[in-house]
C-alpha cells in the first residue's frame, strides 16, 4: 500500500518539475524564426501593466494565426529596466520582442541605467492611455482652476498622490506644475506603488488630489466617488466627458504609451518581418477587441515615425527629471 502512494507523490513532483523545466528550456533555447515561435518579454511581474499588454499580444498572435506559437516571459523589476538590460544582452535574437512604454523611459532616466532606449530597435507603438487629475467627490476643488489657484498658493500643502517615482503620474504632475509656474521641486508628490493604493489615499482624504491612469479611476468617476478635473490627452477622447489640460489653458499633454522593441543588432530584414508580424497582430480581431476592453487608444506607428517619437519622449523625460532635481 505504501509504494503506490509514494509513487503517486513522486510522479506528481516529477511532472511538475518537468513542466517547469520545459518552460525554462523554451525560453533558453536557441534562435528560431519569429513566425515559428515568438517570445514576448514582459518586464513586469504577472499582473503588472506590461504583463497584461504582452498577454493580450500573445492571445492576438495565436488566435489570429500570425505566428505558430507565442509565449510570454516575465522579467520583473525596477520599472522594467531589469527586463531591458537582460534583453540588451541577447543581441541578434530575431524571435523576441520586449514590451515597453512610457514608464520604462521614466525609470531609465531616474535610475541612471547603463542601458537605454538607444540600445534597442523600435518596432511599433500600439496602444496609449492617459492620466487624469482627480479629486474626491466632496473636495472643494470643482474645476482645474480652483485646484491650480490653491496649488500655486501653497504647493506643499496641496499634496498629489500617484504611482511610483518616474511614472507618467509623477512626470505629468511635474510638467503641469512647471507649465503653471510652480517649481517642480516644490511639488509635494506622494508616491504609491500602485493605482489601487493611490486611489485609497484619495478616498481617505490623505492627499488633496490624485494623478492616476484614467482607466483605473473611470468607474469611480462614473459612480460619483471621484471627480476628474483634467485628462492628459492632446484632444478630447471619444466617449470620455473630461476636458483636457490643453483646452483649459495648461499646455501639458502626456500619454502612457505601450509598444514593442527588438534586440540590438538584428538585420534590416528581420526588423521588417517583425514590423509585419506586429502589424498583422494589430489588425486581428482579438487585438481590436483588446483595445476596446482595456480602453486603449490605437496609436499604431512604426519605423522612423516611432523612432522619432521615442527620441522626443526621452528628451521630455530627461528635461522633467532635471527640473525635479533628481
Amino acid at each position: 500500500m505504501k509504494k503506490p502512494l509514494l509513487n503517486a507523490v513522486f510522479g506528481l513532483v516529477v511532472a511538475l518539475v518537468a513542466a517547469l523545466a520545459f518552460v525554462n528550456a523554451g525560453t533558453a533555447g536557441g534562435t528560431s524564426t519569429a513566425r515559428n515561435k515568438l517570445t514576448l518579454i514582459a518586464p513586469a511581474a504577472p499582473g503588472g501593466g506590461w504583463d497584461g499588454f504582452a498577454r493580450e499580444g500573445q492571445q492576438a498572435l495565436k488566435s489570429g494565426g500570425v505566428v505558430n506559437n507565442a509565449q510570454v516571459v516575465n522579467v520583473p523589476g525596477a520599472g522594467g529596466t531589469i527586463g531591458l538590460s537582460q534583453f540588451v544582452q541577447m543581441p541578434g535574437r530575431e524571435d523576441a520582442l520586449l514590451a515597453t512604454g512610457g514608464v520604462m523611459v521614466g525609470a531609465i532616466e531616474l535610475g541612471d541605467n547603463p542601458e537605454s532606449m538607444v540600445d534597442v530597435v523600435p518596432i511599433a507603438r500600439l496602444a496609449d492611455d492617459y492620466a487624469a487629475l482627480v479629486v474626491p467627490a466632496d473636495s472643494k476643488f470643482k474645476t482645474l482652476d480652483d485646484f491650480l489657484a490653491a496649488w500655486k498658493q501653497n504647493p506643499g500643502g496641496t499634496s498629489i498622490g500617484g504611482g511610483s517615482l518616474g511614472s507618467i503620474d509623477h512626470l505629468l504632475s511635474a510638467m503641469v506644475a512647471k507649465t503653471v509656474g510652480i517649481d517642480p521641486r516644490d511639488v509635494n508628490y506622494i508616491a504609491y506603488s500602485g493605482g489601487g493604493e493611490a486611489l485609497t489615499s484619495l478616498l481617505s482624504h490623505t492627499t488633496s488630489a490624485g494623478m492616476s491612469g484614467y482607466n483605473e479611476v473611470s468607474d469611480q468617476i462614473e459612480a460619483g466617488t471621484l471627480r476628474a478635473l483634467a485628462i492628459s490627452s492632446d484632444e478630447r477622447l471619444e466617449g470620455v466627458d473630461v476636458p483636457t489640460f490643453k483646452e483649459q489653458g495648461v499646455d501639458a499633454a502626456m500619454s502612457n504609451w505601450r509598444g514593442f522593441v527588438a534586440t540590438p543588432g538584428i538585420t534590416g530584414e528581420a526588423k521588417a518581418e517583425l514590423i509585419r508580424i506586429v502589424g498583422e497582430m494589430r489588425s486581428s480581431d482579438h487585438w481590436q477587441e483588446a483595445l476596446k476592453r482595456n480602453n486603449w487608444t490605437d496609436t499604431f506607428t512604426t519605423g522612423e515615425e516611432f523612432e522619432q517619437y521615442i527620441n522626443n519622449e526621452v528628451a521630455t523625460a530627461q528635461q522633467i527629471v532635471k527640473d525635479l532635481g533628481l
Partner: protein
C-alpha cells in the same frame, strides 16, 4: 435577504457536474503549484490563468476559486512539511506547523490547517456576500497615519516572539530591518544598499529571505550535525490524520480568533495578509504563556498553527470582496484576478454589482464551492502529504534544496536571487548555531518597510507636523490600547520577578 436569493441563483448556475469537475481540477492544480517552495498562490493563479480562458465565464470562475484557495492551502502545506512557505502569508503558520510535523504530527497539522483555512475563508466570504459595499468603506478611512499606528501596534504586539532573550530578539530584528532596507526608497527614489546593482533596485524578495532562512538554513544546520547527533534518518510520523475532541476544543477558539484578525485586513491595501497572521500568532503565543502550554515553541502547538492559518484565509476572503466592490487589488494574487475578470468584460469596482450581477453571484457561489471541495480533498490527502516526511532525511533535505532553488528562480529568473538565497541560508545557519530566533527577522522584513513608508508619507502630507500621527480616532485608540497592553505586561513582568525572588 435579497443577497441570499441572489446567492442561491449563483449556486444554481455554478453547481453543474462539469463545473464541479473544473473546481476539482483547479483545486488540485492550485495546491500542486502552491506546494512548491517559492511558487506561491500568486504564481499558481498566473500560471493557470490561460487555462481558464478557453472556458465559459461561470466555469472559468469556479475553476479560479479552486486555484485561488488551492494555492493558499498549498502555501501552508509546504511550510508545515518542509519549512518552506510558498507565500509570505504562510510564514506565521510555518513556525508552529513545522514543529508539529517534526514531532510526528504532520498529518494532524495539515488537517488543522485545512479546517482553519475552511473556517477563515467561509466566514470571510459570508461577510463579503452580505456586507461588501459597507465593508469597503472601512478601507477608505485608513490613511498613512493609521497604517503607521497599525504597524507600530503589530510590532509591539508580536514582540512576544522576541521575549526569550531580548538581546537576541533585537539582533534578529536588526538583521531583518537591514535586509528590508535594500532597494529603491519609494518616497525619494534613492537607491539604498544596492551596491550599484540594478537587480537589487526592487529590494530582496520576501520569498528569497523566507526560503533562505527557514529552508536552506535548516538544510545547512542538518548537514553540519551529521555524525554529531544520534542517527535518525527519518522523521517519525505517528500521528493520525484526525483531530480528536480535545484537539478540536483547543483549535476552535484559535480558528475564530484568527478569523477575527484576518477578516478586516483583507480590505486594506497595505500590509496584506502577513500582518494579521503575525498578530494571530503573537496572540496565541501570549495566551500559551499564560496557560503554561508546554507545546508552544517545542513540539508545536495546534493553536499556534490554527490561528494564523485561519487569519490568512480570512484575509484572502475579504480581499476578494475589496477587489470586487472597490476594484482594489489588495494582494498580488488579487491583481492577477483583476486582469482575469477584465478578460470576461467584468470591471471590478463600485459599479460591478449593477453591471454584471449574475457573474458576480456565480463567482461568490464558486468561492463557497471551492472551499468545500478543498477541505474535502485535503483531509483525506493529509496523510498522503505527510508521507513525504518518510523519505530518509538525506534525500528529503537534498530535495528541499533543489526545490527551494527552483522555486526562487522560477519567480524572478534572476541568478542573483540564487546567490542571495545561499547567503541568507548561511545567515540562517549561523543564527541557528547561536540560538538567535528567526521569526523577528521575517517580522522586521515585512513590517519595517511598511512602518517607514507610511510614517514618511504621513509627514510629507502634513509637511512635517508630527500632530498628524495622533489626529484621528483610529490612531488614538490604537495607541491607547497599546499603552494599556504595555502597562499590563510590565506589571505582570514585575510581579513575576518578585514572585521568583521569594
Amino acid at each position: 435577504m435579497e443577497q441570499l436569493e441572489l446567492l442561491m441563483g449563483g449556486f444554481a448556475s455554478a453547481l453543474t457536474p462539469i463545473n464541479l469537475l473544473w473546481v476539482l481540477i483547479g483545486a488540485l492544480l492550485g495546491t500542486a503549484v502552491g506546494v512548491l517552495p517559492g511558487l506561491g498562490s500568486a504564481m499558481a493563479v498566473a500560471l493557470l490563468l490561460p487555462v481558464t480562458f478557453s472556458l465559459e465565464p461561470t466555469a472559468a470562475f469556479i475553476m479560479f476559486a479552486g486555484i485561488y484557495f488551492g494555492g493558499l492551502f498549498g502555501d501552508s502545506t509546504s511550510g508545515i512539511l518542509l519549512n518552506t512557505p510558498g507565500h509570505s502569508s504562510a510564514i506565521a503558520s510555518t513556525f508552529e506547523g513545522h514543529r508539529m510535523a517534526k514531532s510526528g504530527q504532520a498529518a494532524k497539522a495539515l488537517v488543522t490547517c485545512a479546517i482553519g483555512a475552511f473556517i477563515g475563508g467561509l466566514i470571510a466570504t459570508t461577510l463579503v456576500v452580505f456586507f461588501a459595499p459597507t465593508l469597503v468603506k472601512m478601507a477608505t478611512v485608513f490613511g498613512p497615519a493609521e497604517y503607521f499606528a497599525l504597524a507600530v501596534f503589530a510590532f509591539l504586539a508580536i514582540s512576544a516572539v522576541v521575549s526569550e532573550s531580548v538581546i537576541r530578539g533585537i539582533a534578529a530584528l536588526g538583521i531583518g530591518l537591514a535586509l528590508a532596507l535594500v532597494g529603491i526608497d519609494g518616497p525619494s527614489g534613492t537607491a539604498r544598499f544596492t551596491v550599484g546593482m540594478p537587480q537589487l533596485f526592487d529590494g530582496i524578495s520576501v520569498i528569497v529571505i523566507t526560503v533562505g532562512l527557514l529552508a536552506l538554513g535548516e538544510v545547512f544546520h542538518i548537514a553540519s550535525r551529521i555524525h554529531r547527533d544520534p542517527v535518525a534518518t527519518r522523521i517519525e510520523t505517528k500521528g493520525r490524520a484526525r483531530l480528536n475532541l480535545s484537539d478540536f476544543k483547543k483549535a476552535l477558539p484559535a480558528w475564530l480568533r484568527g478569523t477575527a484578525f484576518g477578516a478586516p485586513f483583507g480590505l486594506i491595501p497595505a500590509g496584506g495578509a502577513e500582518v494579521p497572521t503575525f498578530l494571530a500568532y503573537g496572540t496565541e503565543k501570549q495566551l500559551a504563556k499564560r496557560r503554561d502550554d508546554p507545546e508552544f515553541g517545542t513540539t508545536g502547538s495546534i493553536r499556534g498553527l490554527a490561528a494564523p492559518e485561519a487569519a490568512a484565509n480570512a484575509t484572502a476572503g475579504t480581499a476578494m470582496g475589496a477587489l470586487l466592490a472597490l476594484g482594489l487589488p489588495t494582494s498580488a494574487t488579487a491583481a492577477i484576478m483583476l486582469a482575469a475578470f477584465q478578460q470576461y468584460g467584468m470591471q471590478p469596482g463600485p459599479l460591478l454589482f449593477e453591471r454584471s450581477g449574475n457573474l458576480v453571484w456565480a463567482l461568490l457561489a464558486s468561492l463557497f464551492i471551492g472551499l468545500v471541495i478543498l477541505v474535502m480533498i485535503n483531509i483525506p490527502f493529509a496523510s498522503v502529504w505527510a508521507k513525504l516526511l518518510s523519505i530518509p532525511k538525506h534525500y528529503l533535505y537534498a530535495g528541499i534544496t533543489v526545490f527551494s532553488m527552483l522555486g526562487v528562480y522560477a519567480v524572478s529568473s534572476a541568478v542573483l536571487d540564487l546567490w542571495l538565497l545561499i547567503a541568507i541560508g548561511l545567515i540562517g545557519f549561523l543564527m541557528r548555531r547561536y540560538n538567535i530566533p528567526l521569526a523577528p527577522v521575517l517580522i522586521a522584513v515585512i513590517l519595517g518597510p511598511m512602518a517607514e513608508t507610511e510614517l514618511r508619507r504621513a509627514l510629507a502630507v502634513s509637511e512635517g507636523d508630527l500632530g498628524i500621527l495622533v489626529d484621528s480616532p483610529i490612531t488614538v485608540t490604537l495607541y491607547l490600547v497599546l499603552a494599556a497592553a504595555l502597562a499590563l505586561s510590565a506589571v505582570q513582568h514585575l510581579r513575576h520577578r518578585a514572585s521568583r525572588k521569594v
